[in-house]
């Protein structure tokens, strides 16, 4: 029972870390290598707001997440539009360039040491089905769930969500139907980055932050989304939970140092057996999703 709860909580975190990658890929067909860096920046924002002004991490989150969205939709707009129109190579290396630059901006400004915050409730435990669970992880899980449900409703029930799905299906046809595809791209990218910021806010009370933390998270996110099926939101949820479970289980039953090996092994296995990912669109990997 302990293991199931732990796996679920960790999996929930991974879902939030990954869902933005999946969303951006699904619509724009861009793998954003800089995704982790946005998580890292949000973590620093929360850290400094707490250290300097004494703000509560979650309250800061209310400001950081919309801010991330606005910054993307305004400052990064030309970058995003250029990215969508570029070749695969350029997309990979431009987002990598962004990743390197952001990572080192953090290094220049805040040095390489690990920083963490302590709040009044850092070590508070909550009883959940007879299992003691840290409050911060529980909060993260609840927010993760809300995020997934919210995104799902947004995509399925609103007109704009419909426009996003249409663009994901076929850009040209979507444009012919009168959808402003550029706007969809910018907003989707902004949304994706906002989920990254949210992940950062949720991670900060639990883990410590350093400039390199973004890339570690990005690696996990890539595994999760490929596992679940690139571009598929339910896939990202399933993949995240699965990786969370696999990590907890192998850490417990085999050895903590082997847990990464195990989930990469699962990852490669899935690629061999079902390259489109568990819930991915079948055959999409063979077309390269042009």
């Amino acid at each position: 029972m302990d293991l199931i709860v732990a796996g679920l909580l960790l999996g929930g975190l991974y879902v939030t870390v990954s869902i933005g990658v999946s969303l951006i890929f699904g619509v724009m067909r861009v793998i954003n290598f800089a995704h982790g860096e946005f998580i890292m920046l949000a973590m620093y924002a929360v850290y400094w707001a707490h250290e300097v002004a004494g703000w509560d991490p979650y309250l800061t989150g209310l400001a950081v997440v919309p801010l991330a969205f606005v910054v993307c939709a305004t400052v990064l707009r030309p970058f995003i539009l250029w990215l969508v129109r570029s070749s695969v190579l350029v997309q990979v290396f431009a987002t990598l360039g962004l990743s390197i630059a952001l990572q080192n901006v953090a290094l220049v400004l805040w040095k390489g040491n690990y920083r963490s915050i302590r709040t009044g409730y850092s070590s508070t435990l909550v009883d959940l089905f007879g299992v003691q669970v840290p409050l911060t992880r529980l909060v993260a899980f609840v927010v993760d769930t809300l995020l997934v449900v919210g995104l799902h409703l947004f995509l399925q029930r609103t007109l704009f969500g419909k426009a996003i799905r249409a663009t994901a299906q076929n850009r040209r046809t979507a444009r012919l139907m009168g959808i402003d595809v550029d706007r969809v791209d910018v907003l989707v990218f902004g949304l994706g980055i906002a989920t990254a910021a949210l992940a950062g806010v949720l991670l900060m009370p639990i883990y410590s932050v350093s400039p390199g933390v973004g890339f570690q998270n990005a690696l996990i996110a890539f595994v999760v989304v490929v596992l679940g099926g690139l571009g598929s939101l339910p896939g990202a949820v399933l993949g995240g939970l699965l990786i969370g479970f696999v990590e907890v289980m192998s850490g417990y039953f085999i050895s903590p140092s082997m847990k990464q090996i195990v989930y990469f092994a699962v990852f490669i296995l899935v690629l061999v057996v079902r390259p489109a990912g568990l819930l991915g669109q079948r055959g999409s990997e063979e077309l390269g999703m042009k």
């Binding site: 290396f93 431009a94 290094l107 990997e285």
Partner: protein, 339 residues
């Protein structure tokens, strides 16, 4: 058709570019210069190796560091445990990397485009984690130090100038290989494959086998670079020879220089690596990381201005220069009509 004059200038430029590090290296006595030249040559070797798969077949791998690490570890461990000379170990490492490349190729044969890219990323991470965890074999993150007594038969050369020569020889060999590959029948098949896979298949090109072949070749060459690195620095650990950053660097150099050309990776290396070294030398001490900020932003700028890389842009420029001032070619259909 490229006009002959432009072609001549282009070949001359390529020859000059290739010979430059050797000439500079032999003419100078500066150890700092030799050190940075060796690094440049090493990266040129890696970029050329990556380009065989990433450029000619347009299969973007971000996991090539796995082959590099296999090369470095194989020759080092063989020398350490069995006293086998790294000159031979180099090729054993190449073979093992080639086998690993073949396995990866077989496993991922259904994956295209970005899916393939992601799979290579995971492959490299698995190799790194294995190197960290298999302490009995690799000494884990502690790393392995190679005996630094100069010994030619054990590929410990002692003076830096010799490393420049060896690095140059490897780079030249890979360049020649790339040119030959591009001009061979396989090169034509690769061209067809990267432009339109379906069409290539329809014309009878066995694309899966073709990709496997290039992957094996590319892995083999990358592993040679791994041994060269290990014998140059005389120390290897999982983070330095299997870190994902190195994978990205190899690919990046080709992308900047021009993927799918033989000289592009070399040019890209000459532009990017010394630039990084200079930035680090001037900014590294004051603000750690600032040089990488500039580096990252510079990369985006180059890609924005020249999405095909610097070399194709340069060649296009040469062509335009040699056309201007001359009458349009007679054989050029429509040339007169337009004029």
């Amino acid at each position: 058709m490229t006009p002959p004059r432009a072609k001549l200038v282009s070949w001359g430029l390529q020859a000059a570019l290739i010979a430059a590090p050797l000439v500079v290296g032999l003419a100078s006595n500066d150890t700092f210069l030799h050190d940075s030249l060796t690094q440049v040559l090493l990266f040129a070797i890696l970029a050329l190796s990556w380009n065989i798969l990433g450029g000619f077949a347009r299969q973007v791998s971000v996991g090539h560091v796995a082959f590099f690490g296999i090369g470095a570890y194989t020759s080092t461990l063989l020398a350490l445990n069995f006293g086998l000379s790294p000159w031979i170990g180099m090729f054993v490492g190449g073979l093992i990397a080639a086998i690993a490349g073949a396995l990866l190729g077989i496993v991922t044969f259904r994956l295209r485009g970005k899916f393939f890219t992601m799979a290579t990323l995971a492959f490299a991470e698995v190799m790194r984690i294995l190197a960290v965890d298999l302490r009995g074999l690799t000494k884990g993150s502690e790393g392995i130090t190679i005996d630094s007594t100069p010994n030619l038969s054990m590929f410990v050369l002692g003076n830096l100038r010799s490393y420049v020569v060896v690095g140059f020889a490897l780079m030249l060999a890979l360049y020649v290989l790339s040119v030959l590959l591009a001009r061979s029948k396989i090169g034509l098949k690769l061209l067809a494959y990267r432009e339109e896979e379906e069409a290539a298949r329809a014309l009878g090109v066995r694309t899966i086998r073709l990709r496997l072949l290039v992957m094996v070749l590319s892995a083999f060459c990358t592993a040679l670079g791994g041994t060269f690195y290990a014998q140059y620095l005389l120390f290897i650990d999982p983070d330095s020879v299997l870190g994902i950053e190195l994978s990205l660097q190899m690919a990046l150099l080709s992308v900047v220089g021009g993927v799918g050309t033989a000289i592009g990776p070399i040019l890209g290396t000459y532009l990017v690596v010394p630039f990084g070294q200079l930035l680090r030398a001037h900014l590294g001490s004051e603000l750690a990381g600032l040089h990488l900020v500039i580096y990252g932003l510079g990369l985006i700028l180059v890609l924005y201005k020249m999405p095909n890389g610097v070399w194709p842009a340069l060649e296009g420029f040469l062509e335009r220069v040699s056309f201007s001032g001359r009458k349009p070619d007679r054989g050029h259909p429509g040339a007169e009509k337009r004029a």
